[in-house]
């Protein structure tokens, strides 16, 4: 009986993980379209500011490091929970959320600065493409932060169960995926601007 239920849990786990993976694959297509749009529209700055004038790679490097650290602590949170280290898992999860929130604050302050200087997304095709791409990623991060907070309360309440392991693994897939998307935003948008 217990063997059958274990098998059932593993199947449920695999199906959920694969299903969520397929969602991530469709998200890759979404970001691919936005990247293509940005790259095509980048030269069309309508006599307004260019990417090189507006975007600062050093600032983006700090954002990259913050998000990378957040992705790392998220992985540790899953690993710790798998080995029943509840306190370590919760601590890592809190770090993940704090670093994620820091990233979002950095990005939003960059956006507000751009908008205050009059570089809104109505100014040129380049800025439309830029804001659409980067803000779509930021929106994912925001949703991830809400999801992560829900996971934190779940793990606090239930500790290590099959369900909490499954849920936390799915969250970590999402979070690592967002970090990967950011690596390409960093390389193509910010480093590309400085060339």
């Amino acid at each position: 009986m217990s063997q059958r239920s274990t098998k059932h849990v593993i199947e449920k786990y695999d199906k959920a993980e694969f299903g969520f993976w397929l969602y991530l694959m469709t998200d890759i297509i979404l970001f691919a379209s936005l990247f293509a749009t940005y790259m095509i529209l980048r030269p069309n700055n309508a006599d307004g500011p260019t990417a090189a004038e507006l975007l600062d790679p050093s600032y983006a490097l700090i954002e990259t490091i913050v998000l990378l650290a957040s992705s790392f602590t998220c992985g540790i949170a899953v690993l710790a929970l798998r080995f029943g280290k509840k306190t370590l898992s919760i601590a890592s999860l809190i770090f993940t959320l704090l670093l994620g929130a820091t990233f979002l604050v950095l990005e939003l302050s960059e956006f507000t600065e751009l908008v205050h200087e009059g570089h809104t997304w109505q100014v040129s095709a380049f800025l439309s493409g830029f804001f659409t791409l980067v803000a779509t990623h930021g929106l994912h991060i925001f949703i991830g932060l809400i999801w992560g907070s829900a996971m934190l309360t779940y793990v606090l309440k239930f500790g290590r169960t099959d369900d909490s392991m499954r849920k936390l693994t799915l969250f970590s897939l999402f979070w690592h995926f967002l970090d990967l998307v950011w690596i390409f935003i960093f390389s193509i948008v910010y480093l590309g601007a400085a060339l």
Binding site: A36, L68, G75, K85, I188, L191, L195
Partner: protein, 121 residues
Amino acid sequence: MSQDSFSTLVVRYVIGFASALLLSVASYLLVTAHIFTSAHATMIVVLIFAAVQLAVQLVCFLHLRITGHSRDRSVTFGFTILMMLVIVIGSLWIMQNLDYRMGMSGEAMNEYMKEQNKKGF
């Protein structure tokens, strides 16, 4: 689930984190320190670094393997990457081609359109 101990698995994450960090800083330095004179060459190396980082994070953080447990995930991922390349490279190709063919000033374009209008549709 593998039989690895907690510490060996943590080490895997640390390796992934350290190499990802190293690659990000390396591509940043490559761009800001102008190590290559050609912007084109720099961009290609930056993209290669990004691709290497993608592979590192897929293996160390997302536990993607070609065989075994995550085979279905690898296959769908491979197909998605193919679609991604079709979308990105295809769009760039088509739009650059259009740009090339439309390579005339606004005034010249206006004259051209008037000529075409005279001919009738």
